[in-house]
Amino acid sequence: MPWMLPTIMKNLFSRPVTRRYPYVKRPPFPEARGKLHFDTEKCNLCGACSRICPANAIIVDKEGRTIKYNPFACIYCGNCVEGCPKKAITMDILYSPPAIQKEEEVITFPPSTK
């Protein structure tokens, strides 16, 4: 009945609100939570992030000096960012892209200088 009529007529004669996503990308809000980045300079491979990760997405290998980060398990909560004693983890504002293969990200650290 006519109660919706003004709205649809207004919509019909004005520009659609649709954001043409793949062609027009709106930058995410500055506070948005996205992919993790590990700073190999600051990190001392203490493993705190691995212990507090609720999704088991970070595996720290102290001997091999690598961090395995699985973006397909990460829940983007930011717990590791806050829990890192060295503040070595930062969060991107962009989400991890979809993929055809689930590939873990392996961050390799330079050999220990100490």
Binding site: P16, T18, P71, F72, I75, S96, P98
Partner: protein, 141 residues
């Protein structure tokens, strides 16, 4: 042939099944249909019926009762079909990795073509994932 491939890529119909996610990805899939994202631009329609669908969008990790439902639905879809998993928990188990009733990622039940990470995945990510899936659909898998 070219026409067929083109049409396949231009007219993917979705089937969405929630396998035990927290709902976050589900409502983001629904949000994709709505004016702001409007995936009908790409000819995508949410069908709700496996027999009409080309893309199976699965959210959430597989568990025991869902396992067979998912298999049934997948079986009832006509070829060519692709499976897109939305959300970290569907990809690997995610935050539910140690829940007792969880089998793990969807790929333990049916073959998965595209993984969309995120918790909850953003509509943009879902659109990206579906576009990736279209490439597969185009070639008739």
């Amino acid at each position: 042939m070219n026409w067929i491939a083109r049409s396949r890529a231009k007219s993917p119909w979705l089937l969405h099944y929630d396998c035990g996610s927290c709902n976050g990805c589900d409502i983001e899939i629904l949000a994709c249909l709505t004016p702001l994202y409007d995936i009908e631009r790409f000819g995508i329609v949410n069908m709700g019926n496996p027999k009409h669908a080309d893309i199976l969008l699965v959210t959430g990790p597989a568990n025991h009762p869902n396992y067979r439902v998912l298999k049934n639905l997948y079986e009832q879809m006509p070829e060519p079909k692709v499976v897109v998993v939305v959300g970290s928990c569907g990809c690997t188990g995610g935050v539910f990795h140690n829940c007792p009733n969880i089998l793990g990622g969807i790929d333990k039940v049916i073959p998965v073509d595209v993984y969309v990470p995120g918790c909850a995945a953003k509509p943009e990510a879902i659109i990206d994932g579906v576009v990736l899936a279209l490439e597969k659909l185009k070639n008739g898998k």
